[in-house]
Assembly symmetry: C2
Homo-oligomer: 257 residues x 2
């Protein structure tokens, strides 16, 4: 039985300040919850239909509290149009990632991404392309926003997200000789440029691109060409789309089948 207070708590977690105060975030969706539980995270609260509970075996989850609820009760606290059979509350995950940990691998850095769907989609594709770390400027939308969590489709269980002073973090990476890539209209065409297996790919804000302070830290400028090159087209690509094209090209150049 789901209490009124619990419903109120769940709904209140769409607000960032409340998430920080309660040290909790909401995950909806059977697959996303399953991914988080099986990655070893302990849920504070699991609100589940009897049917979903049966699908979880004792070995693969740990939770402080399991509340059985009807579909109707789940609908009451869901933020989704089509609620699924489970809602979970997890303690906020804090990821500490240092510039030294960027050595020898590919990472993403986000300079003030504002749309929750874009951030979630980027975390999901980072997971697909084996990118373990996403470094966000402090102005980037909160990763624990329910819309972000939803769009990650469970990838939040595998990708580390850290918020930090981005220009400073990138400067420290440069000092360690880690290349810092960014896309600019005057950049080198990605298809023709030799891309390294180590590096940080910086993606800019939806409207304004990469900020000046971050641009100063870019060591390699890239460009995704439109086709055909001389024809009028859209001014830009959606940021998640651009991120995916760049990540795919980095992986393609070193692909061993």
């Amino acid at each position: 039985m789901l209490s009124k207070n619990k419903i109120k708590l769940i709904k209140s977690l769409s607000d960032k300040k409340t998430r920080e105060k309660e040290n909790l975030f909401v995950v909806e969706g059977n697959k996303a919850i399953y991914d988080l539980l099986t990655s070893g995270l302990k849920a504070r609260t699991l609100v589940v239909t009897p049917k979903f509970l049966v699908s979880l075996s004792d070995e693969n989850y740990s939770a402080d509290e399991v509340i059985e609820a009807s579909d109707e009760e789940i609908r009451k606290c869901s933020l989704l149009k089509n609620p699924q059979q489970a809602i979970a509350l997890f303690p906020l995950i804090s990821s500490v990632v240092s510039p030294a940990q960027m050595k020898g691998k590919l990472s993403l850095a986000l300079d003030t991404i504002q749309d929750p769907g874009n951030l979630g989609t980027i975390i999901r594709l980072a997971d697909w392309f084996g990118i373990e770390n996403v470094i966000c400027s402090e102005e980037t939308v909160d990763v624990f926003n329910p819309k972000v969590i939803q769009a990650t489709m469970g990838a939040i269980a595998r990708v580390k997200v850290r918020y930090t002073n981005l220009p400073q973090f990138l400067a420290e990476c440069s000092e360690l000789d880690i290349p810092v890539y960014g896309t600019f209209l005057n950049g080198d065409i990605i298809y023709k440029k030799e891309l390294s297996e180590e590096g940080i790919i910086v993606m800019g804000n939806e409207g304004n691109g990469i900020s000046e302070a971050v641009a100063d830290q870019i060591t390699d400028r890239l460009f995704i060409p439109s086709f055909p090159p001389d024809q009028p087209t859209s001014e830009s690509l959606n940021v998640a789309v651009a991120t995916s094209i760049i990540c795919s090209e980095f992986r393609r150049q070193h692909f061993i089948s």
Copy 2:
């Protein structure tokens, strides 16, 4: 002065049936409206701030009706969180595209894409990659849904979108020897496969992928590999993200700088 009836009309166009009855769709955003007007489309109604009107010269737009409005009035009929300085109503665009017109070029086909943001983002990236035609199954979300139009960011002015019986359309393309590509888990790795300059790239529904009737028409199966290949990762990529990676790879293989 914006009448109450006009505000009511604009708001009612978020409903598909009303759009069809009135033969109108809504475009918001200075850039998107500018793109449609300068592509030669005549607006039925332009609701603009005096400032935006000054930015349009007489030569580059045509409208049956121009209504000057305050920011406050525009906010009243806007569907956006941050309304811009113009809202326009255009007659619905009907695109008739035949299988024969698919010869010699790259096109996209969408099998029941449901999310308006995904459809809009796909139209925007089609524009970027010089894809003129997007063929949609009849079950795909309506392109004139305001959220779709918004996400195209003006690309709707340059990309033709046709709704049709998709399996039948693709069968007719196959008869014309046009390759029909689709992504499947058992497909050939896109980075290793020779991709043609002519063809139709089919993308499937967000949850269910490509339907059986459409799958029967696919001549070439593709796969975007995750990295590293043997590590647990997300089950899939967002459909707009997957579309962009595939389109980029088709263009890269024939790229001449």
